[in-house]
């Protein structure tokens, strides 16, 4: 079955750190696989594990309180740095479908959209409020509605978010960029011939 994203209500895992780069999301030494599967095991590897491979008790993803979270909430400028799509694969493989932040790096945003991870950009104020809501109640349920482009906190506070209409359509219907590009093949061939 094709994967899609429409509407999700879930607990959220908070990561209130700014400028989280893709080397933190998945360190380079774990980029050696030649398939897309299994990267979730090493998501935030060096924040989740000590050097002797034991779990770091104080890291949010190691806290069983947040085990049902399918939404990750992170500080501004999430996904900066390397273009490694493995970062989006790791987030998806771990079980997150949405990342909420007040700012995303460009390449990470594209990679997420290509892997059914929805980047939801909100204002700094809304992000701060989201962190506060989660801090007050770890079980707080947050709703992300792609069709109406809206995020809603448990108290009803809501905000809208932007997404390119084409990418929205792809996510809601499980469409693939390559299918679209292949449908343009005659035009691409004509373009190349005219160069």
């Amino acid at each position: 079955m094709k994967e899609t994203i429409t509407k999700l209500t879930s607990q959220a895992a908070p990561l209130p750190i700014e400028n989280i780069d893709t080397d933190q999301i998945i360190p380079a030494r774990f980029l050696k696989a030649t398939t897309r599967e299994g990267f979730g095991d090493n998501l935030f590897r060096d924040w989740r594990y000590n050097s002797d491979n034991t779990l770091k008790a104080d890291f949010v993803l190691n806290d069983p309180t947040y085990k049902a979270a399918r939404i990750l909430v992170a500080g501004k400028n999430f996904g900066m740095g390397s273009s490694r799509e493995h970062a989006a694969w790791a987030i998806h493989d771990y079980g997150f479908s949405v990342v909420i932040s007040s700012f995303f790096a460009d390449i990470f945003r594209n990679n997420s959209l290509n892997n059914f991870v929805l980047p939801v950009q909100v204002s700094d104020e809304f992000l701060a409020k989201t962190f506060a809501v989660i801090e007050a109640d770890a079980q707080a349920q947050i709703t992300v509605d792609l069709e109406n482009q809206q995020v809603t906190l448990p108290d009803g506070t809501a905000t809208s978010f932007e997404i390119n209409p084409y990418k929205k359509n792809c996510l809601m219907n499980g469409y693939d960029d390559i299918d679209y590009l292949i449908s343009l093949r005659p035009e691409i061939e004509a373009f190349q011939a005219a160069l």
């Binding site: 209130p16 400028n19 360190p27 030649t34 400028n77 900066m80 273009s83 790096a105 594209n110 343009l184």
Partner: protein, 468 residues
Amino acid sequence: MSNTPQTLFDKIWDSHVVKSQEGYPDVVFIDRHFIHEVTSPQAFDGLRKRGAKVFNINRTTATADHNVPTKDQHLPIREALSRHQVEKLRENCKEFGIELYDLLHPFQGIVHVIGPELGITQPGMTIVCGDSHTSTHGAFGNVAFGIGTSEVEQVLTTQCIIQSKPKKMLIEVNGTLEKGVTAKDLILYIIAKISAAGATGYFVEYAGEAIRNLTMEGRMTVCNMSIEMGARGGMIAPDEVTFEYMRGRRFAPQGEEFDRKVEEWKQLKTDEGAQFDVVLTFDAADIKPMITYGTNPGMGIGVTDHVPTLEEIPATEQPSFQKSLNYMGLQPGESLLGKAIDYVFIGSCTNARIEDLREVAEFVKGKQKADGIEVWIVPGSNQVAEQARAEGLDKVFEGAGFELRGPGCSACLGMNEDKVPAGKYAVSTSNRNFEGRQGPGARTLLVSPLTAAVAAVTGKVGDIRELV
């Protein structure tokens, strides 16, 4: 033709749009595609699943760089997963008919070093690669940017990419750089000024006297680090410096064809009066030799400055700032001048070209490596290594006690065998000081090759201006 003045970025982007449709990102034709072993295997799997061929094998070039050892490159790669990934690249290139500059091939090297030095990178192109430092190629007046693996698959299958057009930023650097201050310092200065997210959403054009006065190697260093301020890419309009660099390169046009191309390339510039979304202006005279103290490239200071104090950081950013300093083992307000370091890494797609090695050699000649530290010099390509030997630079480095290795990404990213141990300070000419970037727990101080050379011979952070 529209008479509205256009930016160079618009000219190149617009002339490569195959289809532009309301509500859709643009479909952009890609002139040149580079691939390497890390971000391509899953893309080739995608082609196999669809039963697709590569759209145009002549527009993609492959090399192995990220995962390769820099010692004993003639032996099989020791680490099984790295070996497997490089072997997979070989199989994929063979199956799909793509030219591969494999280990030991005379053209092998870091993808962003070999493209320009072979003349594959030419002005006016759209260039992509599954690597964020693809922005390097913008130094020749190109729209060049890093992409993810799904996008690598798009390009292999259709020679196109689906992409929203970024906004435009002009960064002008006027005046001249002080002696000892280099292209690397210039870009680290700009990133420190506007932050590691200061150009996110934008494509940057660099201009101004200080940019014009840079060599092609210097321009590549500047464009390379555009991504470190979040920019989609960075570019510099081509000029005589560009054309002279291009002349006679292996895959550049030759003879009369070259002269004809130069006339075309001369048209590649931003029109007078063209509009940018943002214009930033800097004065080259304000730039000192730079060094980073934190865990993103925006956390940089002049070598003679102090790490910001807590009071100098906005309250909301203090927790991240403090986390960064804890990782680095540094205190707010501390001066880095005279700080003892453990490793020096001179290499990476930012600073491993022949000019970088020449600069280091000129300073190091007749001097010795400081006791108790390790110095690795990793040329960007086999051609750079060959040229260095031809000029006797290898003898200078060996005489100084530096370790000259084979080409590859090496200790820039902690993926291959070259890693900096936990807690150690590495003065590095690479591009990223993220936590764990050079190895788990490694502490990176980003600098220019000259400042790295100072650290190599003194064992400390120093000010090159006092030594030249």
